[in-house]
């Protein structure tokens, strides 16, 4: 396939995933901010998104300003609207590589978000966030059931997985770095809600219960989001899927590249370590490194397949 096509598919996957993740992030902020005594939550959200950094550092930044930045601002390349616009532009540039259903999903997203005003966005926030998640799901569904399982599918999937890995790591980092509690066990009230908000943002609350059947602990949650092998948004699960997808490409193309090694090493690392070790050597450092590795992986994939 054309390298340009692969590149567009890769980024389409990333943008859709990013729109979805950003909606989840805003949802998390909304829940945290509803609690009595809430103050810096929106700023942590801004920092976590990585796209509204300076608002995160500005004590005067209002919740509305942060929400609008993440939702509809055109200058923010990672706002939900920008992501949808770019995903559609990716799709439009490679109409032949995606199915009619996928295109219609992209096109519908664009048409609705194009006309949303700031005041509408703020008034209808909960339903707008739900809508974004549903649309991303519709796109994934159309992909899952309609797209040929060839290399194009793999590039799309790699984009999604890389973005998803990064978002899980970022969310976790915010909670740890900004809101880390003093005590071992998650305290009551606010702290409890902040933790559950992280899980909820990743649609992981129920899943966590199924796996741990007990209290929320910082290690439990960190372990679940980083090391768990069956939760589809955990870093470990994402990396295993990335590695499997890259293996498929290597089989198909008969050639392995640096990106394969990077992914394999990361999988190995995530399989061998345990959460105690990660905490001892510094979770924040681990997360920072993992985000960096993921970025390097993305650029090595682009290099290996000429885009």
């Amino acid at each position: 396939m054309l390298s340009r096509t692969a590149e567009h598919l890769f980024w389409m996957g990333r943008y859709i995933e990013r729109a979805d993740a950003t909606a989840r992030l805003v949802e998390m902020g909304r829940r945290m901010a509803m609690l009595p005594g809430a103050s810096g939550e929106w700023r942590s959200v801004a920092r976590a998104s990585g796209a509204a950094g300076e608002l995160g550092d500005d004590p005067k930044a209002t919740a509305d300003a942060i929400i609008l930045r993440l939702l509809i601002e055109g200058e923010n390349r990672s706002s939900i609207r920008s992501c949808m616009v770019q995903a559609r532009a990716n799709g439009r540039a490679i109409r032949t590589a995606i199915t009619q259903d996928m295109w219609e999903a992209l096109n519908d997203n664009w048409r609705k978000l194009e006309s949303v005003t700031a005041s509408q966005a703020l008034t209808d926030l909960p339903s707008l966030l739900d809508w974004v998640r549903q649309r991303s799901a519709a796109f994934r569904g159309a992909t899952e059931t309609g797209l040929l399982r060839n290399d194009g599918f793999i590039f799309l999937r790699l984009g999604e997985l890389i973005e998803r890995t990064e978002m899980t790591l970022r969310l976790l980092d915010v909670k740890y770095y900004v809101l880390l509690p003093e005590t071992d066990v998650v305290g009551g009230g606010r702290d409890f809600h902040q933790w559950t908000a992280v899980l909820r943002a990743l649609s992981a609350q129920r899943a966590y219960h199924h796996v741990y059947r007990g209290d929320y602990t910082p290690w439990g949650i960190a372990e679940f989001l980083i090391l768990n092998k069956i939760f589809p948004r955990s870093a470990n699960f994402c990396y295993r899927s990335i590695s499997a997808a890259l293996d498929e490409l290597a089989m198909d193309y008969g050639e392995r590249h640096d990106c394969h090694d990077i992914a394999d090493q990361m999988v190995e690392r995530l399989s061998e370590t345990d959460i105690q070790t990660l905490f001892q050597s510094g979770l924040h450092e681990f997360i920072t490194n993992a985000v960096r590795t993921t970025n390097r992986l993305a650029s090595e994939i682009a290099k290996a397949y000429y885009f």
């Binding site: 054309l2 532009a89 032949t96 295109w103 219609e104 000429y306």
Partner: protein, 468 residues
């Protein structure tokens, strides 16, 4: 005025009997509702058309009218033969002017019109494109003025667009009114994409051994016909490339793929000559593929249409197409030309200037309905302005009588009304000449208007050819 549906005796013309019954059964209320559904469907699928230089919505929809335009079997036979004949003659003309120029030597066409034509490419002289084909897709714009008379308005030999609308209009109609198709015997147009692919395969370059790799080349998503480019690539199952995807090495053309370079044999290009290759045509252009033209000349790749094919379709050459048909094919033209006066010739210009309020004046190299004067509907001021332009640059203008184009029924706001239509079939030329039974019917949506161009508020319709 000739109407496609209503016969002068108050009844319906035979090809429209089924349509008339359908309109009566359905009622206007239901039809209006379906019309809105059709529009929503088009928008959802993303069939849009942007117009150069008009601003506004970059992804405007071409209005679709759901009452089909119908050709009876015998009417179609005539049109079809006429179009094929024209496509053959135009290609013969192109081969001739880039070789010995027999038709010029014989004095049938003035040399200056060809050799001084902007679209004439001296770089093409002496070169034999595969199969001697220059224009692989010929779009012929046809109007009807009475029951028997079809006339050609202009030829499009470069990269005529609109065929995706032909296919999608049919698709939408079949989706919305399946019972209508079950009852009427309508020729299928599905085969167009595979016919196009076969045509392109037939003109593979000499250097290509085995199955040729075909690509469609587009200027990119911002081009007004981008939807069509991607649609055709998709239906043929070939890659849609932009110039940046291609490069030249070792005397061949390659595309950048995830597996490394892959060779390309036939390029159905939907970009203008000027943007093919900056080395040969436009040194200032960043567009195009460096060295592409020299690979083409050396037989390493085929460009469809051939560079320089535009010399056959400008409005000054158009005048001579009937002569070409006699000269190269030894046949009488089946389709007539519209009488045309060239402002470059003194007597003809005098005639034009004295009758400006009756005539249609067009630019010789223009297209898309821009820079045109329609005398009967123009203001005194517009006419005066055009008069000055013609006197200043007589070579650039031709004039034609205002034709009484046939009308066909459309669903207007006030119910079913008549509007002027034209028709563009798409003739394919490879080793064989192929023509799908159908084409694009354009309709002037404004009451009384004669301008059908989609860039000027025209709409489109499905076109039916009835089988015997």
């Amino acid at each position: 005025m000739f109407d496609e549906m209503n016969a002068p005796d108050g009844g319906y013309r035979a090809p429209y009997e089924r349509i008339a019954a359908w309109l009566a059964e359905s009622g206007e209320g239901m039809l209006s509702q379906r019309q809105a559904e059709a529009e929503a469907l088009f928008r959802r699928i993303g069939i849009t058309f942007s117009v150069y230089g008009e601003g506004g919505d970059p992804e405007r929809l071409i209005p679709f009218d759901l009452i089909p335009r119908v050709f009876g079997a015998s009417e179609w036979r005539r049109v079809s033969q006429g179009v094929r004949q024209r496509a053959r003659a135009l290609n013969a003309f192109l081969w001739d002017v880039y070789h010995r120029g027999e038709i010029l030597k014989a004095g049938v066409i003035p040399e200056a019109l060809v050799y001084q034509n902007e679209a004439f490419l001296p770089e093409m002289v002496g070169f034999d494109p595969p199969g001697k084909v220059y224009s692989h897709v010929v779009g012929v714009d046809i109007v009807r003025t009475d029951a028997t008379e079809f006339q050609v308005l202009e030829d499009n030999c470069r990269t005529p667009s609109g065929v995706s609308y032909m296919l999608e209009n049919r698709e939408i109609m079949m989706r919305m009114f399946p019972q209508l198709f079950a009852q009427a015997a309508i020729e299928s147009i599905d085969e167009y994409p595979s016919m196009l692919k076969r045509t392109l395969q037939e003109v593979a370059p000499p250097a290509c051994k085995g199955e040729p790799t075909i690509v469609v080349m587009t200027p990119g998503p911002l081009n007004s016909a981008y939807y069509e480019h991607s649609f055709l690539a998709d239906l043929m199952g070939v890659e849609l490339v932009e110039a940046s995807d291609l490069f030249v090495a070792d005397g061949r053309v390659w595309m950048r793929t995830t597996r490394g370079p892959q060779r390309v044999d036939v390029i159905y290009r939907r970009i203008d000559d000027a943007y093919i290759d900056p080395l040969s045509f436009r040194p200032d252009s960043l567009l195009g593929v460096q060295g592409l033209f020299s690979v083409y000349r050396a037989g390493g790749v085929t460009l469809c249409s051939a560079p320089g094919a535009g010399v056959a379709d400008d409005k000054a050459i158009y005048i001579f197409v009937p002569e070409m048909i006699r000269f190269y094919l030894g046949e009488e033209p089946i389709l007539k030309n519209v009488p045309t006066w060239r402002c470059a010739i003194d007597e003809e210009r005098e005639h034009v200037l004295s009758k400006l309020e009756e005539l249609v004046v067009k630019r010789v190299h223009g297209s898309g309905g821009y820079g045109m004067l329609i005398g009967p509907s123009a203001s005194k001021k517009e006419i005066a302005a055009f008069r000055k332009k013609i006197i200043a640059h007589p070579d650039e203008y031709v004039a034609q009588p205002t034709l009484d184009l046939s009308t066909a029924p459309i669903l207007a706001e006030g119910g079913i009304e008549s509007r002027h239509v034209d028709f563009r079939p798409f003739c394919l030329v490879g080793k064989e000449v192929r023509l799908t039974p159908g084409g694009l019917t354009r309709v002037a949506l404004t009451k009384g208007s004669l301008v059908v161009n989609s860039s000027q508020g025209g709409g489109v319709k499905d076109t039916w050819v009835l089988s015997d």
